[in-house]
Amino acid sequence: MSFPLIELQSASVHFGTVAALKDVSFALSRGDRVALVGANGSGKSTLLRAMHGLVPLTAGRRVLGETPSLRVAMVFQHPFMLRTSTLSNVELGLVLQRMPKAQRRERAMRALERVGLAAEAGRIGRVLSAGQQQRAALARAWAVQPDVLLLDEPTASLDPTAKREVENLIAEFSAQGITMIMSSHNLGQVKRLADRVLYLEHGRVLADVSTEHFFSGTLPDEATLFLKGELPWA
C-alpha cells in the first residue's frame, strides 16, 4: 500500500464557538473509494472541505503525502455555473492553471463528451437542467485531471433519472482509478460506489470500516441506530 495521499491528524475545525469537526484522524490512500455518512450537521461537509484545504484547521494537521503538487477537485450539491457557455464553465479550472487556449479548449470538450454534454457546449451553463449542470460540474472537475475527487452530496438535489446518470459517471470515474470521497444520505448509493465507509456524528468519526463490514458487521451503537433509521433526536 502506498503512503496516504491526504491525511488528517487529530484535526479539529471550529466555526466561532461551534465545533464542526472534533479530533478527526483519517488517511486517504490512492484508489480509495470512501463514503461519508451521518446525519445533517455531523461534519461530513466540513471533513470534505478540510481534506481539500478550503477551511483552516483550528487544531491538528493536514498532511499531503506522495505527490508534491496534488490535484484535488470538488463537486458540490448545488453547482455554481458562471454566466457564460457550458464550455467556458468547464474550462474554468484550466484557465486558473494558465493552460493555453487551444489545449484547454480540447481538454474541456473531451470532458464534456465524457459526461455526454458535448451538444450543450455552446449553451449558457445556467440554463441547463439540474442534472445537466451537475454533469457539467463533474466535467469541470474531471478536466483538471485530479488525483482526488471530493463530492458533497452530489445527487441529493436531483430527480431519479439525473441521479442515475450522475451516479454512473461517478462509478466510471472511480473505475478508472480516481481516488474519491463522497458524502451521501443515500445508502444504496454508498453500497454501489464505495469500498470504505466513515460514519460521523457530532463532528467525530465513530466508525471507519469497509463497506461490507458497515452493512453487515458489528458497529458502534450509534452507527447501528443510524442504519436502522432510528437516530434519536437528542
Binding site: 457564460t84 467556458s88 474550462e91 474554468l92 484557465v95
Partner: protein, 275 residues
C-alpha cells in the same frame, strides 16, 4: 475567458482617455479672470473675437466674483485680472501680484425696485435713496459675496451714514450669490436691488422691477485691467497678457467697447485716456 481581455481593455482605455485631454499645451492663449457681471453683460462675446482677430491670441475667460477673480490672480492661475473694484485692485498691485493697473472703462450701477416704489427712493441721489431704504426697512437683496458690486453697495451705505452691520433690519438679505440670482430673488419678492446696468439690460425675469435710481456720479463703476506679475509667477504668459491689456486701452479696443450695445443702449464707456 473574456475577463482578462476586458480588464486589459479598460486599463488601456483609461490611459488613452487621460492622455487625450492632455494635448492642449502649445496654443496661443491667455486666461483672464473677470467677473460674472461683465460676462453676463455679453461684453466678452463682442470684445474678444475682435482682439483675437487683431492678435491671434485666444482669450479664455473665467468669470467669478471679484474676490475670487483676484484670488485666482494671486495664485497665478490667470494671466490677466479684469475687475471693477479700484481699492482691491490697487492693493493687488501694491502687494506685488500685478504689474500695473490700467483703467479701461466704466459702466454704472442702478437701483431697481418694485415699480410702485413703496420706499419712495426714485431720483438721482444714491445716498438719499439708501437712507430712505434703511428708514423704511424695505426689502433689499445684497449680493454679499465680496464682489465689486457688493463692495460698491457697502460704499453707498457708508456714504449714507448707515452701518448695515450694526443696524441690520429683517428686510436686508444677503444671498452670497451672483447678480442674476440676486435679481431673481428681487423680482420674486418685490425687493430693491443694486445692480450694474449691463446685467439689468440683459435680465429677462424682471417681474415688477424697474430702474428707480440712476445718474448719480457715485454710481459709476470703474473697470481696471492688471497683468499678473511674472516675477511672482514665472509661467504667466506676460507678453500675450500685456498685448491684451494694451489692446483694451488702445483706440481700437476702446472703440470696440463703446460699440457694444444692448437693446440700442451703450453699456460700457471707455475712459482709458482720461484718467
Amino acid at each position: 475567458m473574456g475577463l482578462i481581455r476586458t480588464g486589459r481593455g479598460m486599463l488601456m482605455l483609461s490611459l488613452l482617455a487621460l492622455t487625450a485631454f492632455a494635448a492642449h499645451a502649445q496654443e496661443r492663449s491667455i486666461v483672464v479672470a473677470s467677473t460674472t457681471s461683465t460676462e453676463q453683460s455679453g461684453l466678452f462675446s463682442h470684445l474678444l473675437p475682435a482682439f483675437t482677430k487683431a492678435s491671434g491670441i485666444t482669450v479664455k475667460v473665467v468669470a467669478v466674483g471679484t474676490g475670487q477673480a483676484l484670488d485666482i490672480g494671486r495664485r497665478g492661475d490667470a494671466d490677466v485680472v479684469f475687475v471693477h473694484d479700484q481699492v482691491a485692485e490697487e492693493k493687488f498691485v501694491a502687494e506685488g501680484f500685478g504689474l500695473q493697473r490700467l483703467p479701461v472703462m466704466f459702466n454704472d450701477f442702478v437701483i431697481v425696485g418694485p415699480s410702485d416704489d413703496p420706499a419712495g427712493v426714485k431720483g438721482r441721489d444714491v445716498a438719499e435713496a439708501m437712507r430712505k431704504l434703511a428708514a423704511s426697512k424695505s426689502s433689499f437683496i445684497s449680493r454679499g459675496d465680496k464682489s465689486g458690486t457688493h463692495a460698491a453697495e457697502l460704499g453707498y451705505w457708508k456714504a449714507a451714514g448707515i452701518d448695515t452691520l450694526a443696524a441690520k433690519w429683517a428686510g436686508y438679505k444677503e444671498c452670497g450669490c451672483g447678480m442674476g440670482p440676486a435679481l431673481n430673488m428681487g423680482s420674486s419678492t418685490d425687493a430693491y436691488v443694486l445692480t450694474d446696468r449691463g446685467t439689468w439690460l440683459s435680465f429677462k425675469n424682471r417681474g415688477r422691477l424697474a430702474v428707480l435710481v440712476e445718474g448719480d456720479t457715485r454710481l459709476f463703476n470703474q473697470y481696471g485691467v492688471i497683468v499678473v506679475n511674472p516675477a511672482r509667477h514665472p509661467h504667466v504668459k506676460a507678453e500675450w497678457a500685456k498685448a491684451f491689456a494694451d489692446w483694451l486701452v488702445s483706440p481700437l479696443g476702446q472703440g470696440t467697447i463703446a460699440a457694444y450695445k444692448v437693446g440700442g443702449e451703450q453699456l460700457f464707456f471707455p475712459n482709458a485716456s482720461t484718467r
